[in-house]
Symmetry: C2
Subunit: 190 residues, 2 copies
Amino acid sequence: MPRVSQEHLDSRRQQILDGARSTFAKFGYEGATVRRLEEATGLSRGAIFHHFRDKDALFLAVASEDASEMVETVAERGLVGVMQDLVAEAKQSETRGWLGTQLEVARRLRTDPEFAEEWGARWETLREASVARLRKQRDLGHLREDVPIEVLAGFLQLFYDGLSRYLATGRDEIELESVLRLVEDSVRKH
Amino acid sequence: MPRVSQEHLDSRRQQILDGARSTFAKFGYEGATVRRLEEATGLSRGAIFHHFRDKDALFLAVASEDASEMVETVAERGLVGVMQDLVAEAKQSETRGWLGTQLEVARRLRTDPEFAEEWGARWETLREASVARLRKQRDLGHLREDVPIEVLAGFLQLFYDGLSRYLATGRDEIELESVLRLVEDSVRKH
């Protein structure tokens, strides 16, 4: 029996995540059937579910990828930087589709505590990174000092949620770059 | 054949809207089956679909009720006033459920132009009311003058979208009153 290298496993895992992302984006959570996941990944259900416990785990892993990438961006450019990137990426229908699918799980977050906990954990690292970056900005004298950092972080997070929801619907009537400048201005020291 | 009064028709229509709202809230869009709508309204499908063309029309009518109510609030207290009310109402699970169901239609808004147009029409009156109120605030000297009103309106709308998404998930870690004060501060003249 040949030994399977870690590289091979990682690359197989990434192949599944990429296929899953596009399936969730195109068909939504319920619509991402095992058959469609097989077609998109080019792998059998046996291979897919060897790497991921179930569809939830697959969905949460795709979300984790996003969260990890965003944490890096937040360190350098804050949540506003993440939002600028999101606006650029939302020109692609797969991005809009994936954003939309993430909206569909709102009910599960309310009714399924385990799922909510796992989902929350992905975004907790992002929140911590956002708070850390705000502290850095405050130490550099760039941040307004009349509002607690937790409130600034909550404000940015809610705005990110609204932006991502707006982009998911494919609407295009708001001047997003101008609005993001206002968001940045709202947390800055004057 | 007795004449059916307008009052009777209006009261029947409201009975259906109330039952539909709670069914959509509890079960989501797909889960709001005809059987469940009958149970919640206390009426037969014949009666329900005499007043509303189909489930979409019912869903859009419930959304219209919200939009109309919000337009009144916006005139007096702006979109921030609407958000304050939403925070208070979101203590009720039916409100959170209905907010969640509205998130589920993101995909349809992207893929079904007729549905998107009808949905957009409900919120257009709200947007117009928001812009009108911002103009009034500017005339009174309360509004910042370095940012165009359309950008301020877009900012408030995106924030409303994010707040409503956050409340739909039942999360409770952000100090919403403080964040709303920051939102209000962000559009004010200093």
